[in-house]
Symmetry: C2
Subunit: 136 residues, 2 copies
Amino acid sequence: MTNLPAHHSNDVDDCAFRSFLDRVADKWSLLLIVTLENAPKQRRRFSELKKSVPGISQRMLTTTLRNLERDGLLVRHFFPEIPPRVEYELTTLGKNLMCPIGELVQWIRQNWTTITNARNEFDKNNMAKSTGVKEC
Amino acid sequence: MTNLPAHHSNDVDDCAFRSFLDRVADKWSLLLIVTLENAPKQRRRFSELKKSVPGISQRMLTTTLRNLERDGLLVRHFFPEIPPRVEYELTTLGKNLMCPIGELVQWIRQNWTTITNARNEFDKNNMAKSTGVKEC
DNA sequence: TCACTTAGTTACCTTGAGGGAACCTATGAC
DNA sequence: GTCATAGGTTCCCTCAAGGTAACTAAGTGA
């Protein structure tokens, strides 16, 4: 998601909405938020997060955490020990965000079979024209 | 957003959630859904959509519409006239989706200044280390 | 002296998303 | 004959997201 063209005609809030989604609506951000929310005491160390979110690279873990911190959704507690220890924790804002996210998850859960059925139907009618979508 | 590694340890619904967001949580999909929802009679022609969502390329418009259709979020009404006429319309499912999306929009609207303040604060403290984020 | 620890940073490289422009279809108007 | 029209499709090319691997700090234990 890049910048808007200057002449766009949509709602002013589009900017906020899109800018926010740009940050949060990706694989790793959401997984990290959910993982932190489910964590005991809602805190997790860097290495714990790496284990809890398999497949994430160290680079993406740091950059995603940094971005979430930048948005005020989590705080980074740094303990200057050797070896260093860092704990990540959702802020009130971050926990707060889980409400609408939860609503969305609920909606998807309720409608997921409808959607997959629609996809199958569509794919059948369009005779396996590749859509670039993989099952997981 | 790509596939999950086979060994992931998270909730089963992660797949649905991520797969769905993968499809819907991008710039063009959301803008098209909102545009269709705001349209009179909730219908729009291809060319109208192109005007209503400035900046979208023809290619992205078609592929995004195709994907939304595949998910059963909208229907494509094709009139075999010359020149051809096509109208896109949100399905019940698509309109339905606007509820949780609306909640999220509400949340962002309410917390947007908090977030931008957090960003500014963070950027100030981190002395303009580039985060790759542009204002819009 | 060496290996090992955590939480990163940096450099390098690959892949795919997406932009731009040309092309396509059939018909009616000029 | 050729232009325009609506709704696409196709090709090419770029740029940036993100993966991998190597490097770092500073202390501890063998």
